[in-house]
């Protein structure tokens, strides 16, 4: 039986990126994916015959380095020529639109301030950019490499100049609401600014934490923080990543769920020996790297008994509550949003920061938001293979929807929320209800089950200060290796975290090869 250098668990984008780098360096690599297709949460999903959509409906922050290193363009990936605007719609008012550093539909003051703020955030983002692509230093370490990373961060910030550096220190952990309130008058502009920092997290505008850092992380890739959809879709990127991995010599097996990570031990201690598949087959390897979330990897596949006691309990305590539901609608025609000539790009239904905050308040106590906030995309406008000709797909990230609600996610509860969301959409796009042929609502509980991700959390572990940087997912596992020799992490639960940036996969491969 073949003995691999490395087994990669999960063919999400990070698993594929990691596999590519390892295979490119000459390792024998096998990628094991539980689902039928590669891509994880970015894979396209047929939710109604002829109608498909990916869970992650736009691309933001994809590392250019990875596109170049893996020559993804030659494997079929094409970046979108243009980024998508964010349009904050309203049932009766004219929409406001954010496109890059310009914003229309707001007062002259807000418009000017927006440009200045974007320019400043751009400078911060540029200073931080190298750190998303670096392994974080170990806490308490005095190694030259670790001290160098710390020193470089200090120097980069210092080189921003005194004023920018102090301003960065001030806003880095500021609640989004404070940043918005001190900058703008327009309520919808404020809500939109919040949205881009909070999307995918368990935080609201008033939460002090890392939302500003998330904005800066998202600004690191192409299009400077603006979302985009490549011409052949998110799925096109996933296929390109798979092709690149295979071209570099990695094997990819789908529909191959891993049952457990196997360990062997003797008087020299423990070490990884490979994996056992759900069908009982055992595959041996020197190393195993998992793009599954840390809880699934360490407590599910490996098992707490193989780890140390405090460490395994830190993994147990990781905050992994997903708060984003996904709504898919199969539409018989193109919906018309009030005041929007062409519904391209992201349409935001979040009229005020309070609406966002109150939706979060409902969710905190296990309730469905009375008034949901959501980001709507019509992916069929950029990609023509997701629905029959003339038909369309509506894809919406709905916040804040908890994975566990009082009474549980019964069919009736899901139908009730679906009806509520369609009614909210109807207010912004009159007539849309008539176009709906089918719908699908995926709660975080559904995402957890279908995509094997703890809590259904997009980012595998809440991207908050206690679980970021050299604490991601927790100390002693923040440099991609784990306490057990031969086992590594390369998913969104590792630095720098979520979205489709690919850096966890790339950084992990670098560590494994060093």
């Amino acid at each position: 039986m073949k003995h691999y250098d490395t087994l990669v668990i999960g063919a999400g984008h990070n698993g594929l990126v990691c596999a590519s780098y390892l295979a490119k360096a000459g390792q024998s690599v096998l990628v094991l994916e539980a689902n039928e297709t590669v891509g994880g949460l970015a894979a396209t999903r047929e939710f109604h015959p002829g109608f498909s959509a990916p869970i992650a409906h736009t691309l933001v922050g994809l590392a250019d380095t990875i596109v170049k290193d893996l020559d993804l363009e030659s494997h079929g990936f094409k970046a979108a020529a243009q980024a998508l605007p964010l349009t904050a719609v309203h049932p009766s008012d004219a929409p406001i639109q954010i496109d890059g550093s310009s914003v229309t539909g707001v007062g002259a003051d807000d418009s000017a301030t927006y440009q200045a703020l974007q320019a400043q955030l751009r400078r911060f983002a540029d200073a931080l950019a190298p750190f998303w692509e670096s392994t974080m230093p170990r806490i308490g370490s005095t190694s030259v490499a670790d001290l160098f990373t710390f020193g470089k961060l200090g120097l980069k910030l210092r080189m921003l100049g005194r004023d920018d550096m102090l301003e960065f220190m001030r806003v880095a952990t500021l609640p989004m609401r404070d940043l918005a309130d001190e900058s703008f008058d327009n309520e919808r502009l404020k809500a939109a600014l919040c949205w881009d920092g909070l999307l995918g997290s368990k935080l609201a505008p008033r939460s002090p934490n890392q939302a500003v850092l998330t904005v800066l992380n998202r600004m690191a890739g192409k299009h400077g923080g603006q979302h985009s959809i490549p011409p052949n879709g998110i799925n096109g990127l996933m296929n390109a990543l798979r092709t690149a991995a295979e071209a570099n010599g990695a094997e990819v097996r789908t529909s191959t769920p891993v049952q457990k990570i196997t360990v062997e031990g003797d008087e020299n201690g423990q070490r990884i020996s490979g994996v056992q598949l759900a069908n009982g087959e055992e595959i041996k390897a020197d190393k195993v790297v998992s793009s599954a979330d840390p809880k699934t990897t360490l407590l599910g596949l490996l098992g707490a008994p193989q780890l140390e006691i405090d460490f395994s309990n830190r993994i147990r305590r990781l905050r992994t509550d997903g708060y984003v539901a996904k709504l898919h609608l199969a539409l018989s025609g193109k919906p018309a949003f009030q005041g929007v000539a062409n519904p391209e790009g992201r349409l935001l239904i979040a009229p005020t920061m309070d609406t966002i905050e109150f939706a979060y308040d409902n969710a905190k106590y296990g309730e469905v938001p009375e008034e949901a906030v959501m980001e709507v995309v019509i992916p069929t406008l950029s990609q023509n293979d997701l629905a029959p000709t003339g038909s369309h797909v509506l894809s919406a990230h709905v916040m804040y929807v908890p994975g566990k609600i009082k009474g549980g996610w019964t069919d009736a509860a899901k139908q009730s929320l679906t009806d509520q969301l369609i009614a909210q959409l109807e207010a912004h796009a009159p007539g849309i209800g008539e176009l709906v042929e089918a719908s699908e609502l995926l709660t975080p509980e559904d995402l957890e089950r279908d995509y094997h991700v703890s809590g259904g959390h997009w980012h595998h572990a809440e991207p908050a200060m206690d679980q970021l940087l050299m604490m991601r997912p927790t100390y002693e596992a923040a440099q991609y290796n784990t306490p057990i020799p031969g086992l590594y992490l390369c998913g969104a639960g590792s630095h720098p975290g979520g979205d489709i940036n690919g850096n966890p996969g790339r950084n992990a491969a670098k560590e494994m090869l060093s």
Binding site: G269, A304, P305, E308, I309, F311, N313
Partner: protein, 409 residues
């Protein structure tokens, strides 16, 4: 995993300090009668005797006749189920797979960084049934340790199970006189047996904390007083006498046993970096089995073993007769370079020596060791610098402690 914790104390409208008051041991009614000095302190929330009449008198009972020491406040946990062995074996540093049914092992457990949390004993009651006893509350750590072990139930039964330690040369004769001599005669150290007693089961283990011949008796709390009465009736002619914390501390130091808050701090309770200890530093390397591929703290302990410990707990024989309590140790009589400190010290009446346990820089063990001792004579302090000699064997280890069948003194 299933964790069964004791119920919280009930709130009472009659007593606003309910739940804060010291609990009474099941043996308390008898012990209170005998505590003629009312010398009470507390252990794990129980009212607990420092001494009953006079510590030295009680100490001599342990060494010359026999005495009883209340171990009801000791924390007791039942660990049961198919995963019980695996769960405990991963937690402690010793190889528990070697522990047979009806045998007991002394062991310790550490945090992830190899710092010691506590020591205690584990009884193998049956194939999948263990009892762990230790000096401090441990349920939270046991619950953390059980993460990922589905088939294990951990039940605290400190209050349900009464324990009484019977120690001293006449302890076997006392038990024999009580009618359980046959069951106990063949019991080797760290073995235990069960005998019928007043309609229930009495568990007798050949264990103790005095380094002498002795037993520990375990019974349902409701039968505590009948046990006490039978034991004291049987032991009357054998000089049975209760002893408290002070006498225990003397006896255990002679035996070379470590004591929490004297020789070691429980790792989760220390604030200052490395103000706790590893088993290697405590000279308990024999408890750490590196042949086991995995146990908590293994990586850190292995690294320490390879590098060597910076400090080591040793036994000291000190010249003169002034106890070196709280003494600081130096590498010369001039007391310039500090190399360690005394953790426990006493004049040993049985050994007739000035003994101590001390934590010393490993490097300094090859050189001279001097203790700077302060002692008082009628309120006036005196300073003395005394030469110390490291001793390997326990100060007190009489053959009768291990002899089987035991002598009938």
């Amino acid at each position: 995993m299933n964790i069964v914790a004791p119920a919280d104390p009930e709130l009472s409208s009659d007593d606003r300090f309910a739940g804060e008051r010291l609990k009474l041991s099941p043996f308390h009614p008898r012990q209170a009668e005998l505590n003629i000095r009312d010398a009470w302190s507390a252990w794990n929330g129980y009212k607990f005797a420092d001494y009953y009449y006079e510590a030295t008198y009680e100490y001599f009972c342990i060494r010359n006749t026999c005495g009883t020491y209340d171990i009801c406040p000791m924390q007791k946990f039942l660990v049961e189920g198919e995963d019980a062995l695996a769960m405990l074996d991963r937690m402690v540093t010793r190889d528990l797979t070697k522990l047979r049914v009806n045998r007991i092992t002394y062991c310790c457990w550490c945090d992830d960084t190899g710092r010691m949390i506590d020591d205690g004993t584990i009884f193998r009651l049956d194939d999948n049934r263990y009892m762990l006893t230790c000096g401090s509350p441990c349920l939270a750590w046991l619950a953390k340790s059980a993460l990922g072990f589905d088939k294990v139930t951990i039940t605290e039964h400190t209050e349900q199970l009464a324990g009484l330690s019977l120690q001293g040369p006449t302890s076997f004769s006392t038990l024999k006189n009580m009618g359980v001599g046959d069951a106990v005669a063949e019991l080797k150290p760290f073995g235990f047996t069960r005998v019928p007693f007043v309609g229930t089961e009495l568990m007798i283990s050949r264990t103790g904390f005095t380094g002498d011949l002795g037993y520990e008796l375990w019974i349902d709390a409701e039968y505590a007083l009948p046990l006490w009465d039978a034991l004291y009736e049987a032991g009357e002619d054998y000089g049975i006498q209760p002893y408290g914390e002070a006498a225990t501390n003397m006896a255990r130091l002679e035996a070379g046993f470590i004591m929490p808050y004297m020789e070691f701090n429980e790792a989760p309770k220390t604030i200052n970096f490395e103000h706790d200890q590893t088993p290697l530093e405590l000279n308990l390397g024999w408890l750490v089995d590196f042949k086991k591929p995995h146990f908590n703290g293994r990586r850190a302990l292995l690294e320490q073993k390879q590098k060597g410990t910076k400090q080591l707990l040793v036994k000291l024989d000190i010249e003169g007769n002034k106890p070196a309590e709280e003494a600081i140790l130096y590498d010369s009589k001039g007391c310039r370079n500090q190399i360690g400190y005394v953790t426990s010290a006493m004049w040993s009446p049985s050994v007739k020596a000035n003994i101590a346990l001390a934590m010393i820089d490993t490097k300094a063990l090859t050189g001279e060791i001097w203790a700077e001792i302060y002692h008082y004579k009628e309120l006036r302090p005196y300073r003395k610098v005394a030469k110390c000699k490291v001793q390997d064997k326990p100060f007190w280890m009489p053959p009768r402690a291990r002899q089987t069948p035991p002598g009938e003194f």
